[in-house]
Symmetry: C2
């Protein structure tokens, strides 16, 4: 496998003894270039195996027909499903999607923007990393005329359209459901992170309690990273209370799974003694025993809507074009882990 240096318009120019600018114009079918020259350029381009790719078009009019999508990580089902939705719309419009992961690392996110700009993407769709507090790199892309649309993890600090899930609504509805199932002492697993989704889920939890005249008890709120081990520890902590909860609403499915493992190890019945609900509707939630009630974030729909808004911006480039905020209502998926009253 031998590697050759890439052929550029300069090589074609050199071979024909004309300027690179003339080569570029000839390749772009510029009317100021004679047909004889155009033919010579095309012939030389072929002989030299010049890549007659989008790069020429990109340099000409900024249309590479590539969209860059930035996600914190592609190995979370939610993000990869959103990308699937984006891609469904983009492919129909003959656009290709390239995905970059920021791993919630600010420096990587900045480098990713640079990489996407250097790959001459026509626009960027992004979900912002957890640790990003400075948005200059996104502004830089916008200043270059690259449309930017944000989804899920968004910010008001940028003038960009955003598509988000109503986390407050999802949490409120889950807690309301637990109350309807007869639960009165409902615990909540949350995260101390400054990401608004967890704040909103917490707000949904407290408001649903208040609206149903159930007193808020801060002993029942456990803060962690919401991973499996955290869920185990949080559940153990709750079981040490004098007055243990009769339900747990975890702001993550993994946290709820950890709690389920502890309850099963202690032979505590789910949902009869303690009901359990998670958030995100990760694929594993339907495979647990009992299956886990969760909140579906409509990820494919979110991706499709995000792509539609993106193309609205792309196609109206240059004209007046106001940023929109679209809030999608998530859907509660009721499963056995909370169904005390219904038939199973």
């Amino acid at each position: 496998m031998m590697s050759k240096p890439k052929v550029t318009i300069h090589d074609i120019a050199e071979r024909l003894n004309i300027t690179a600018s003339t080569v570029s114009r000839a390749l772009n079918d510029n009317p100021r270039i004679s047909d004889v020259t155009k033919k010579a350029v095309l012939k030389a381009a072929k002989q030299l195996n010049y890549q007659p790719n989008n790069i020429a078009a990109a340099l000409r009019n900024g249309k590479s027909h590539i969209i860059g999508v930035i996600v914190p990580t592609a190995d979370r089902t939610f993000f990869s499903s959103v990308v699937r939705g984006i891609e469904e719309i983009a492919n129909k419009l003959n656009y290709k999607v390239i995905i970059c992961q920021s791993y919630d690392d600010y420096e990587k996110e900045v480098q990713t923007i640079d990489a996407l700009l250097s790959a001459r993407v026509d626009g960027i769709i992004a979900s912002i990393g957890k640790n990003t507090e400075n948005f200059k790199h996104y502004k830089r892309a916008q200043e270059k005329g690259v449309p930017l649309v944000l989804f899920d993890r968004t910010t008001e600090a940028l003038d960009a359209s955003q598509i988000v899930i109503d986390d407050y609504f999802g949490a409120y509805k889950v807690v309301e459901h637990l109350i309807q199932q007869g639960c009165t002492r409902i615990a909540h697993f949350t995260s101390p992170k400054k990401v608004s989704v967890f704040k909103e889920r917490f707000r949904g939890y407290t408001d649903a309690l208040r609206d149903n005249n159930i007193p808020f008890d801060e002993q029942l709120v456990v803060s962690s990273n919401l991973q499996l081990e955290d869920g185990r520890k949080s559940m153990e902590q709750l079981l040490q209370l004098k007055d243990i909860p009769d339900a747990v609403f975890s702001a993550s499915d993994y946290g709820a799974m950890g709690a389920m493992q502890i309850l099963k190890e202690r032979k505590i019945k789910i949902p009869e003694e303690i009901a359990l609900a998670g958030f995100s509707n990760d694929p594993f939630t339907s495979f647990t025993d009992p299956p886990l009630t969760s909140v579906d974030q409509l990820s494919i729909t979110m991706g499709k809507v995000t792509a539609q808004i993106f193309f609205e911006h792309l196609n109206s480039a240059g004209s007046n074009n106001f940023s929109q905020k679209i809030v999608l209502k998530p859907e509660i998926i009721f499963r056995e882990s909370t169904l005390r009253k219904q038939e199973k």
Copy 2:
């Protein structure tokens, strides 16, 4: 959000009334260009907000410091974990990774190669789509001097290094383990697809039976797409046999999960009456009840090794450089779904 046309070297050339080629050389610090011109070009570039990005470098020497990774789909844990491994190595070497999904669609795969070439990637790492039988698009990239390395779904039709998992070994070891647990009538869920991984897993299954003097019974082999529903149907089919199996080895975790659902619905004890094993060690396999024995494909390791081989090729470009085939041994993860004899 206003969109502006992208600034190119032609705009700078026009403003300064020099050729684009001179601009390009000035930006590349070519010694043939005077310092006065260089300064003027840099000043104009700044004023026009020209993107001083890797594109100039890419046009110059083919180094964009971007690697394109093609996967059938990023929402399968295996592929996204491999990408994570690739990215760990690439980032240390100051390379960015962009991911494209082929969705196992041949046309999309061809377009993806075009998009990656037009994004001027320094090289391509790919796992080939299930339906790809013609590899011209990959050859085209190689002919342009773009290094190509394949992982997991590879082909001998390309002169490219490949990193694969020893599927035969994984399957052989699982079946051997089932036999050691006392199983003598072991069924197998396989796929009729022409992908070699399923053929290799089937071969491991039959060889392990033969080496342990257990007769092969074709009634115990069920072919399907290996999804959850397929697993349910395949298990139902096996339960209709006069002589039902005492173990099922599924070539996919989802197939095994479908079987588990049926067995639990019928109150058939796992592993006492029928032991169950899957393949891939999907994250959900540790969350089922009982947890599912499976074969871990060392995805992160595979990604790291793939990246290392890739950089070997990239860095030796132009010199003699032989394609390598690296076979990784997968690891069996023993869980309760097959542990008849051990303490739980």
